[in-house]
Symmetry: D2
Subunit: 266 residues, 4 copies
């Protein structure tokens, strides 16, 4: 019988190092902690990667899954940052990267009746670690909002086209991470109106009126978020994208602002 | 050397016939013909299937792809109906089924300026054939529209929430097939307003006003389509679904009506 | 000021009842119970619908979301069945329907080393309730598997093409519901080999050999599942579909068997 | 009556320029030219964007759609490069960007029988233009392939797990663009075997044997493509990613190499 040859450990002669190698598309139940310090159960899609020096033919894929399981399921901002460090050690690697994407839930009160409903937001963590250096953490948040068209409002005596849009907001923190709840508020305050899962009639009248009174183009939306972000003094980089699922077209309006704030005075 | 054993032709002893076996997810360039008799090039996703009697272990998958290629690329309503018949012959089958899904394009004039732009609609053909019987053809059409909420309009002095919605409309014809263009018009006439790819400022004012003056719930939308469909006397079955990507929620409103018209007086 | 008109309660004159109206695409954290009676947290995508008599212009969409929240988050087979009954009462409806779709997780031991890893499966509940009747429950389960081609094996002296496939398995129970774990085992036993999230080298050798020794066409896979299902005497209806992401083509092989077992002798 | 106010032309006081603003998700029928100089009809998903100086409140979204229509439908490498230049002029912009994504079709002969079938590949053009500078063109190509695991082959006496994988290959040309057909060949030659849409029995035996005789990890696949790419002397930058839809797991193996070749000796 053949013995179980470790093909991955063979010498590779092509002299080409690999930037990232690993596993993707793992569904994994995780627990994140919210601002009230309550644990929240959700489901993440996970990718785990390391670099591979030019001498080695292959990595050991099963070790990624072992490292993920080893972390148990608490994978919020503070514990997730440990996972790439575990990979560095485990694989004797120079660089490691993890990506986590999951829905985050928030109990929200309707604006007039105060009735509660659960809203969902997409969250993505990208964490890069280098041997001997601090890790690099990028947080991306997708926040759905209402946008009402200023041009349509200005031209029409009655009504204005409006629609669901989504803000994709990516940040790198200058210091401490900010709670997801606070970032969500920052973004929701920049749109024509925020969304709710549960609205009774007085609430629906309220959000209709608020949106009509706060028209924004996609351009306004990304600029409002940029102003709020730069005022916060908490970030070293951000990129904000807005995409409107136009109610008058079968395509979308889009705007994007990206800024490196490291050179700027704080 | 082994000879190339025809495993599929072996006898199967489990005594279980298979309802459908074949291939799915084939991307294939096709040409459809529009109402002006112009050929229109597009790309379909194709599935081809036959039944398999209990005696046979397997079908011959390559023959499906050969049959598809044999049809060249003209696959509109009239020629597509031949494809399952080819499968019946080719496989000596009792039942055959094809599914084709593709974007269909329509040049549309903006309502005020008359400027032209191309709109796209999703179309799906499902054609079932039985040995010795006429085929059964189901056409499904997805038409994006504007919907403006009657309740929001009634409650607010200014504006009303509106959004993009999509009508999924499936029909079986009683006699001759109806042109896609006519079915699209039928559906677009039932919404708050139709969509355009290209609107200049006077057009945008127009669609804003038209939508405000024609508020519809998803319930109204499917009922309007039901009334128009039943008035047409051309169908033996239909199902109409409407889904609104609500601009005030992160979930969708939905309604569906399905009717068998065969017993009804024409 | 206008009062908050209840537009939905207005009389409708089109004389067309609506089969289903409600909400879709709600993301909602739920807890399901597994065979060991352990609660498992996951995230569902939810739809909730009722019928609407011809007299009423619209339904009250917010009540669906309230009903969902009212059920807290325990939504396994036994408690989910209560939700459409709540809708019947709440809406004074004749028919109600809910759809829940979520990933279900199972801790699985690798076949040789016994090392544990989490596998995920897609689960879907469709529950229909009619006033004064027992509800109708359809469970759909998606199980990814390995399939190895018998024809490729028979022709080649060395190796055989194999690939990931997915079995989509829908059942209606004749009596008591069967645990998801048992249904997953039933299906995994019908493929060339089952999948694992974590395999060490001896495990990988094992699954390679097992798959090679158990070649199945998509046709074999659905027939194997059909035989196992009919032997179980626990179902009144089933439909099994297999789709192979062929490693030699850019399209998929597909087979389907559907049977009504109610007339059959048990 | 209000006149049709040009809200977009209003002065903006937030002092924030926008990196990109435009439209996305437009489905548009296009014609590309292949190596034999034959026109090929396909369907693209299109995005069109420009920058917006800090003084302007909004852009004019309809002009993007007009510019797209103005180009008729010939949008291969050579004509697509004109489209962002048109945007620069039309919008008096400093920067413009277009993104086009479409399936590209290739008639391929089966390796033994020579029978012909159509294969599809995903293609993406990203073209950036700056006022007064040459444009920057990034071509991305997705090529599905067979990969057979060297470790599984080495350990097992019989067979080896294999699967469909996809290579995502992005390049910037140093000089002339290379035909898609040649890039596809380059990539297909680096895998265990290439894919076909139509294979008869002798062809299936052939591809089974070829894959078994050319095992590759994802690591080997990206290194093979890297070696072939660097040998070509035609590129100033490339990134190659491979993702295997593992037949033994429900997650994917992944590898990536990215290189800037501009400083390197040609």
């Amino acid at each position: 019988m053949k013995d179980l040859k470790d093909t991955q450990n063979e010498l590779d002669t092509r002299q080409i190092s690999i930037d990232r190698v690993g596993v993707r598309g793992i569904k994994f139940p995780i627990v994140v902690r919210d601002k009230q310090n309550c644990p929240q159960s959700t489901v993440a899609t996970v990718a785990l990667m390391v670099d591979l020096p030019k001498e080695f033919k292959g990595t050991h894929m099963s070790r990624f899954v072992e490292a993920l399981h080893g972390h148990r399921r608490y994978l919020d901002v503070h514990s997730a940052i440990q996972l790439p460090k575990t990979l560095l050690r485990r694989f004797d690697a120079q660089r490691a990267r993890i990506e986590l994407e999951f829905p985050f839930f928030l109990m929200k009160k309707a604006p007039v009746t105060g009735i509660e409903g659960i809203m969902d937001y997409n969250v993505r963590f990208e964490i890069d670690a280098k041997r001997g250096e601090a890790g690099d953490f990028t947080l991306t948040l997708q926040v759905p909002v209402t946008t009402l068209c200023p041009c349509s409002k200005a031209m029409s005596e009655r009504g204005a086209h409006n629609q669901r849009g989504v803000v994709t907001y990516a940040v790198k923190f200058a210091g401490e991470a900010i709670w997801l709840e606070d970032l969500i508020s920052l973004i929701e305050g920049c749109a024509s109106c925020e969304l709710y899962s549960l609205l009774k009639r007085p609430d629906e009248k309220y959000v209709t009126d608020v949106a009509y009174d706060h028209p924004v183009f996609v351009e306004d939306l990304v600029r409002n978020v940029a102003v709020a972000t730069e005022g916060y003094k908490a970030f070293k980089w951000y990129r904000v994208e807005a995409e409107n699922f136009e109610s008058i077209h079968n395509h979308n309006a889009y705007a994007m602002i990206e800024r490196d704030l490291e050179g700027t005075e704080k």
